[in-house]
Symmetry: C2
Subunit: 195 residues, 2 copies
Amino acid sequence: MKKTRDIKSIEHSLVSFYRGHKRMPTYAEMMDLFEVRSKSVVSYWIDKLIEKGVLEKDTQGYLKLSGVSFGLPLVGNVAAGLPASAEESSRDMVSMDDYLVSRPDASFLLRVTGDSMVGAGIMEGDLVVVEKNREPKNGDIVLAEVDGEWTMKYFRKQGRDVFLEAANPAYPAIRARDELKIGGVIAASVRKYLM
Amino acid sequence: MKKTRDIKSIEHSLVSFYRGHKRMPTYAEMMDLFEVRSKSVVSYWIDKLIEKGVLEKDTQGYLKLSGVSFGLPLVGNVAAGLPASAEESSRDMVSMDDYLVSRPDASFLLRVTGDSMVGAGIMEGDLVVVEKNREPKNGDIVLAEVDGEWTMKYFRKQGRDVFLEAANPAYPAIRARDELKIGGVIAASVRKYLM
DNA sequence: TTGACATTAGAACGCGCGTTCTATATAAGA
DNA sequence: TCTTATATAGAACGCGCGTTCTAATGTCAA
């Protein structure tokens, strides 16, 4: 068995350390990670990774996993199928957190109950990201209180006329009688298949 | 204007620093963050945050944002509506990355094209998380190559009989003639509404 | 074999890190 | 008032961090 200490495996061990510890390892810790016995060797490989663009140092000189190896690679669309797995670089790396949540401070998650939005592809059991304190635009999906009950509805506005509409045609549209209690605007919806 | 340097604003500044830098600040940097002029004051507040359970130190003594303030709060279901925003603690904090992706090394993202899975609530433009090298079970949604074209289909297996089925009834089921080329199993699907 | 280059080891060093001490200002209660 | 608890400042300290040097070894081609 040949030594597996190439630049690829080193990058991989760094990424998995960061995933596990939510921080970068120290040079002493990297000695164990890379299975070398000198910090200078660590420095040697770190320099290589910086050259390659996997790592960078921020303004204070701290190591950072840059761009690549954050999140998942967005490799194209379904029609293109799975990638040749060659050409590792020049791929878009997308973090689900960053992609789905623009304002983490003003957002929360809800588990979907009921079937009022199945027409919009939101099914029972899905999670939705709700953004608070945001002015809904026509066509947005909002979390609203109707007759003391919270539901998700399309927000419709035509001129001065404002009403709520379910995506499921079985439910009637609701006009704002007194005032509309909007809990937030649905920013994203996610569904998990595998456990 | 009163001093806003309470434990709440300090926690917030730490979280936003971590979100921006993907690491914890040093004590010197926290002096600027907290707007104090001594590292001992920083240590003073850090201890408070550790007591509170917001922070913890890992085995090497490094600061870590623990549990709380990672990801988004999962506050319940749609029927429950938006939370009273009181009782800040004892909420489930969920990171989208951790929730949706179990095996980051073996996963990638695809943008959905076509309407073959609208029946399953997966629409054109959605992103799907595809997990490679996983044995599909009956009922899983898989990325498969059919007649040289990649599509998403339900994976059906009844005894020895294996075939692919679209969620859209307009498309016919497909039996495996030669061999089934499975690119991966769909682990999750996400849709973004606000830009 | 010889040379050039890539990779590893080890040691030394300076500086900044987080800790810890003392001292002081402020606020609340008795 | 005096006491106590809370919050801030400043300084000192030891240790570990990342850097940088020299030198030895491994690899491969000429």
